[in-house]
Each structure stands twice: as C-alpha cells, then as structure tokens.
Symmetry: C2
C-alpha cells in the first residue's frame, strides 16, 4: 500500500461518510487537490486491488477491504493527533499537518503502543471518534450549534471545520471542547447567537455556530 493509495482511500471514506452511494471523480479530485484525470488513474489501480468499486462514469465507492484500510489510516491519524496534544503539548491547530505524515508509518505495534500510552482515547483533539483496532467507528450523538433551538443546554464536543484559522479563532475567543454552552437568543437578521459559555455571555456568528458540534444535555 503506497502513501498515495492510502490518501485516496482516506479521502473517499471522508467524502462518502454520511452520503450513501458512489463518490464522484471531481469530488475526490477537489478533496485531494489533484486533477480528475489523476483520480481516474488511481480508481483503476485501487479497483484492480479490490479496494474500491469502480465502473466507468459511475463513480467510486470503497469495498469492505477499502473501508477497513481507510479506517486504519484514520485511526492512526487521530491517535497521533491525540499523542501530539497530550504528550507533546502541541495545540489542536498544529497537529493535523504532522499527523498527515505520521499516519503512514507502517508498524502495527507502534500504533497499538501509542494507543495504550494514551489510555485508549475515544476521540481526537477535534472531537472526532477514533476507530477501534477492528474498525468499529462510533459517531457521537451531536448536532451543529446552529441547528439547536433557543434555551437548549449542552457541551461543545467537536468542530466541523478543523482548519487552523478556525481553531485559532476559537482559542482566541476561549471556546474549547468540553465547555458548557446554553443558547440564550437567536438573531433573525443574521442568525447570530447569544450564548452562555462557561458562565460568560457572548455573541457568536452563524458562520461559527454552523461549525461547532454540541451534545445536548439529557
């Protein structure tokens, strides 16, 4: 399995997660920042290896084997992210780039030991679930802050956009995962929110609210 193949599988998984049915060539090309013709080439190679289903003009989807492989890469990516934050004091906006490299290290023992060292974490620094060794993947019960009605209370559990600029913005505004949150008011005009976070009142734009995941209190 080459690094490039692994990156394609991961991209296809992420694009397919949620959406059923096959993924388009163009979507993969955009995600991978490459050209559609390159995607077609790779689709053939991955199909040859039994990792994707591919019929000309019909889009691409992962086989069971492809899904397993993608999950193992994602598992490694997210475990390394946790490692960087918990053990090496990286901030959550710094880890992704390095994890993109570390996820391709080939050593079953290495990642299992990292997993144990971290005490088998369930979520990465961005709130994304870490697949188990055998590919079990549990998505947390969560919803976008922007989709929640007034007066609901909950806890921040994840980000949809995990780009460095967004994460740094959250840091600057003291918005962190684990924070308690209550929606006080919604502004009809710009859909901005008045919220109570960890006891402090603040106003949040729709742009932000639609990229923050919250778990409702039961």
């Amino acid at each position: 399995m080459t690094r490039s193949e692994e990156n394609y599988l991961k991209a296809i998984f992420h694009l397919g997660n949620g959406e059923p049915g096959p993924i388009t060539t163009n979507a993969i090309a955009e995600q991978m920042e490459t050209k559609p013709s390159s995607v077609t080439d790779m689709a053939k190679k991955l199909a040859e290896k039994g990792l994707v289903h591919y019929k000309k003009y019909q889009g691409i989807s992962l086989t069971d084997s492809g899904t397993r492989t993608a999950l193992s890469i994602i598992r490694k990516h997210r475990l390394w992210e946790v490692f960087l934050v918990k053990k090496l004091d990286f901030t959550w906006d710094e880890v992704h780039e390095v994890a993109e490299q570390l996820e391709h290290i080939k050593s079953e023992k290495l990642i299992d030991k990292i997993d144990a060292l971290l005490d088998f974490p369930k979520y990465d620094p961005h709130g994304d679930p870490i697949p188990t060794k055998d590919g079990k993947f549990m998505e947390r019960d969560k919803q976008l802050l922007s989709d929640m009605p007034i007066n609901t209370q909950g806890v921040c559990v994840g980000v949809k956009d995990s780009s460095a600029p967004f994460l740094k913005f959250l840091d600057k505004n003291k918005i962190a995962l684990g924070n308690t949150i209550k929606i006080l008011d919604k502004e009809d005009f710009d859909q901005s929110l008045q919220i109570l976070m960890e006891g402090k009142e603040l106003r949040i734009s729709h742009q932000i609210a639609s990229n923050l995941y919250v778990k409702k209190n039961d």
Copy 2:
C-alpha cells in the same frame, strides 16, 4: 528534500565517518542495497543541490550543508529509537526498522519535543551518540572488546553490529549495555574470551567480542 535523498546522505555520512576522503560509488551502492548506476544518478542530483562534492570517477563526499542534513536525519533516527524503547517498551532489536520511517517525518517542533520528553538523551539504545540540534556529534571514548588486553575492566557501552539477530543473541546471553565487564582470559586458538560480566563468568567468541564496544574504567 526527498526521502531517497535523505537516505543517500545518511549512507554517505556513515561510510565517511572515520575514513577521510571521498566515498566510492560501489560502497554507497552496497550500503544502500542498490546499483552503482543509481548511485551515480543520485550523486549528480545531490551535487546539483550543493549537498555533496562530486567529480566523475572521483568519488563522493558530503559538503558542509550535506553533513548538516545527514546529522539532522541521524539525530531524528536515534531520538525516535530512544522514544520507542523508553516510552513504548520496544526492544532494542525492534526499533531500527520503525526509526527508518520516523526519521523522515518533517517537523522541527516534533523532534524537539520528543527530545525534551526523553530528557535530552545523549545516546541511543545501541550506544550511538545523538547529534545535538546544531549538529554537534560526540563520539564516546570506547573500544572493541576484542581489542582490550587481559585483566582490563570496563562497561559495555555499544554495539558495532546492531542487526536484530546479534542484538537478540546478546539478550539471550544476558549481555546488555551498562553491564560491567572484566576480561579474564584470551584463548589464542580461536581468540575467544573468558569474561566476568556482572559477576558471572562466561565465554565469548571473537565474533561477538569484535562487535561489542566497551568503555575502560579509569
């Protein structure tokens, strides 16, 4: 800097360490388990980038820039080896293969944090010195066990051959770095040694003695 370029620089450094003057094409090819013609191709590319001195038929040697780069790869390799042993309970015969991959991860911050986490170790699990961030490299005062006269005492500080089979053999015979050692007798016939290690007497073949480094007690 590609992975392949980094591996060539490392190989050239190791071959040149000790020997002065340029390294031959064939020596590099053998070290890298590749063909001499491939080495010639790479020599041109590295010379182009100012990393090696190369004149046709005259051999190859590292420039200052090439040496710095090689040392930074070696630093990463050895720090990762220490990490694997100290933090993840790898054995010293397992770490090299994984470190060969980890040494190519590109993140200055990552390796500095690993260095700090390990409390700035000076030597790797095989007794090899870890270059400092600024490329300082101190070889320890040591000599091969096979070169030491009868009755000298010392401490095991390194291995010359760090292949897995040799290391496993040492484990099996309870020979570890840090162990005290005293040479009791040398057999003229096969140059085997009778030694006292950590209080226990044992016999060691020349083959073994010529791959174990010892620091003489002062």
